[in-house]
């Protein structure tokens, strides 16, 4: 049984339920004249209510166990996994770290994380383009995430859908690399609006690309005036300590 949501679903839920469950059995004559009385049922139920309820359970669990949880979001290829690998190298001696990886397919990212020596679990979302709170609850149980630790969730590379699905995290962190357009915050405003921190990654490539950092920062602030911004290069290590300091500061503040 799942330790967080209490459901009997076995450990790993990697895929959504199949779509075509046979419910409507066609055993009757199809000359529908609607003799049966139609009635109107008030529902008034939010479509995200189920996910939000699981997210709240996760959040409570994280708070009770002092697990500082980040939800990392970006387009595919912005460098989330490299950022995490370098973060783990820098911080793993200072705090327990665990990682949940979300991708439509493959275990590649979880393998890269495990190579650093920290536990990682891969969720393959299959058709779905985002992680959901129920799957995260199961992953946390299966992974045995320790109390007083940092949990990084790397969401599916997608700047649209994950913005709607609360996972119970403390903060959403959006990663944008300079090889993308500097107007991404305006093109995908919901995500930049939902994030507390924007990391501008691959700054070592700035001399080679047409990316205006100031413009990007101003666009991000336009959709989210309170967003914090850190510029760094995860591969070259430039300004990386600004990020690890941010993390360590939050872990200290929010866990102790």
């Amino acid at each position: 049984m799942c330790g967080i949501c209490g459901c009997s679903q076995p450990g790993k839920i990697n895929k959504l339920q199949p779509l075509n469950r046979p419910i409507h059995q066609h055993g009757h004559d199809h000359s529908h004249h609607h003799h049966d009385a139609e009635r109107l049922i008030k529902v008034e139920q939010d479509l995200l209510s189920k996910n939000n309820a699981y997210a709240e359970q996760n959040r409570t669990y994280f708070q009770q166990h002092n697990i500082f949880t980040l939800n990392l979001v970006s387009s595919p290829g912005a460098g989330k996994t490299t950022l995490l690998v370098e973060t783990i190298k820098a911080l793993k001696d200072r705090m327990p770290i665990a990682v949940i990886e979300g991708d439509q397919q493959t275990e590649h990212d979880a393998d890269r994380i495990r190579a650093t020596g920290v536990p990682a679990l891969q969720i393959n979302t299959g058709r779905a383009c985002h992680l959901d709170a129920h799957g995260i609850g199961h992953a946390v149980t299966e992974l045995g995430v320790k109390a007083n630790s940092l949990l990084a969730i790397e969401n599916v590379g997608n700047l649209v859908c994950p913005s709607s699905f609360d996972l119970g995290e403390a903060h959403k962190v959006v990663v944008l690399s300079v090889t993308e357009g500097d107007d991404k915050p305006l093109k995908y405003p919901d995500m930049f609006h939902a994030a507390d921190l924007m990391i501008i990654n691959k700054t070592d490539l700035l001399p080679y690309v047409d990316f205006d950092v100031e413009r990007c920062v101003s666009y991000a602030r336009q959709v989210n005036p309170g967003i914090q911004i850190i510029q760094l290069s995860a591969t070259k290590g430039d300004n990386f300590s600004a990020w690890t300091d941010w993390l360590a500061g939050h872990v200290k503040q929010e866990l102790l």
Partner: protein, 118 residues
């Protein structure tokens, strides 16, 4: 379904699950019409919902049901000047004082309003 990946599909699967739960508690066997209220400031495209609706409801008790989507306008209150304003996006500034801090009071939700059933 190959190649379709969008959060509207997950939301439609939630719709299906919600109405299946209601079918048990409210004792009905077929859904004729579903009315959704989709806020203009929610991250949902009504067209994408319409696109995925038939596919997700296929084989369910809402197969061939009519989908009605009523869009709810965005409303907010400026945290600086207190004016109640219409919002086109969730990050609109106040048209009166220019403050970027406008609190959304309507239009962020997406919900099933009601079902017509037999």
């Amino acid at each position: 379904m190959a190649g379709i990946a969008m959060h509207e599909l997950s939301l439609l699967e939630n719709v299906r699950e919600i109405l299946e739960n209601h079918a048990v508690t409210q004792k009905f066997s077929k859904v004729i019409k579903i009315t959704l209220e989709i806020g203009k400031l929610s991250c949902v495209e009504p067209d994408a919902l319409r696109f995925g609706f038939d596919v997700v409801m296929n084989g369910s008790l809402a197969e061939n049901a009519e989908l009605v989507i009523s869009e709810v306008a965005g409303q907010g209150i400026c945290q600086q000047c207190g004016l109640q304003v219409e919002m086109e996006t969730s990050f609109d500034s106040c048209p009166n004082c220019g403050s970027p801090f406008v609190k959304i009071i309507q239009g962020a939700d997406m919900k099933i309003k009601d079902l017509t059933v037999i």
